[in-house]
Amino acid sequence: MAKSNFKDKYLNWKKEIKKVIKPLIISIIVFAFASLVTLWAARYTTRIDTVYSPDLVLDNLPVQDWGFLFFIWPIVVISVGLLYSLIVEPKKSYYFIYMASFLYLIRALFIVLTHLSTPYDAIDIPLYFENDVFFSGHTALPFLCFLMFKRVWAKAFMLFSTFLMGFVVLITHRHYSIDVAAALFITYAVYKLGNNIFYKISAERK
């Protein structure tokens, strides 16, 4: 009985994924493009001359080596977000990916504008790029997922991750405090703006 129930669910899920396979593939291509643009922007900020700024929060928060969390938790967030999109809300999976791409593109635009460096006493992280400080992607992505996802457990996890990441990037001195505070406001506006564009696209398909 339980086995057939599981099989029914699986077949139903497969049917739903099949329905959205084309827009899903397109959204993944758009996401790859947005990631490339972000990477290019981050390479640009690594090359150019930058200065660091004093910061009210960082100056009063002794730096701690929480590099493990800084590195691992975003991977956890992305994995949970992807699994949620594909398993729990497959119909909206491509909408989630479009929204994340949109956030990445806006962030790429911001990071090339004003050339602040990563705070001077930031912990060392073996990254391919540096100085991509404004605004904090670590904080923005889980907050976007919190705004988009419908299930309470997923919202709770993403909100927790938002605060955790906000704290981690500050305590590791990898971001300035405006990067974190502004990330929440900018993500909210990106969510509202992106909804107007991408939710309509997904609604039209229903």
């Binding site: 150019i48 001359d49 930058t50 200065v51 660091y52 700024s53 004093p54 910061d55 009210l56 929060v57 635009l109 911001f110 090339v112 504008l113 004003t114 050339h115 602040l116 404004f134 605004f135 300035y176 405090s177 405006i178 505070a181 502004a182 929440l184 406001f185 900018i186 909210y188 506006a189 990106v190 509202k192």
Partner: protein, 210 residues
């Protein structure tokens, strides 16, 4: 006739006295916080980063344009509800105060200094003096407040006027190098969030949002 208009006006004010008192109280806090944070950032601001847009724009003195475009638009945002939208006075003052409080919070965080080649406006009216500090950079309040006006009012001509004024002010402050480009661009995103938050607190009188 004039007396009747005055009495009606007074009646309307009396109807909304509670909301107005709350908004005025918040406005007082906002003004104090602005002055404190403005003075603080003028003392501590030290970092002068390069900027993709400013580096490509030669600094130009557009003080006159700034005075013509920005100040009348701000006065318009504040005065309009007193003249023709009395039911909206508390809403406008309340949302503006939330804007000022959040901006004061942002300003004290990361200590940037005004770009080295900034051209400071040569004329600032007395009412704007308490809000005018040189290192009060992130985010651009002058751009944000006009965009907030655009979001708060629903009349189309008013919206177009304030949006145009906001975009022109953004261009002017970039040309005058009085803000970095992230200050200006982020102002639009942050102001939208502030508007939604302020609207949630003060926006019960939906009929007044005209």
């Amino acid at each position: 006739m004039l007396k009747k208009i005055y009495l009606d006006w007074k009646d309307e004010i009396f109807t909304y006295r509670r909301q107005l008192s709350l908004a005025l109280f918040l406005a007082l806090i906002a003004i104090i916080l602005n002055m404190l944070s403005g003075n603080y950032v003028d003392k501590v601001g030290t970092a002068q980063p390069a900027d993709l847009i400013l580096d490509a724009l030669p600094p130009i003195d557009l003080s006159i344009l700034y005075a013509i475009i920005f100040f009348p638009a701000v006065i318009f945002i504040i005065v309009r509800p007193f003249v023709s939208r009395i039911q909206k006075i508390h809403y406008v003052i309340g949302v503006l105060s939330v804007f000022l409080v959040i901006r004061a919070g942002f300003a004290v965080l990361t200590h940037l200094m005004v770009p080295i080649d900034a051209v400071h406006p040569s004329w600032i009216p007395a009412f704007y003096d308490p809000f005018s500090f040189s290192n009060y950079l992130f985010f651009a309040g002058n751009v944000g407040v006009l965009f907030l006006g655009f979001l708060m009012y629903e009349s189309k001509p008013v919206k177009y006027y304030l949006l145009t004024a906001s975009i022109l002010t953004a261009i002017i402050v970039l040309f005058m190098h009085t803000h970095y480009s992230i200050d200006v661009l982020a102002a639009y995103f942050i102001t939208y969030g502030i508007y939604k938050f302020g609207d949630f607190i003060f926006g019960e009188e939906k009929d007044g949002k005209k």
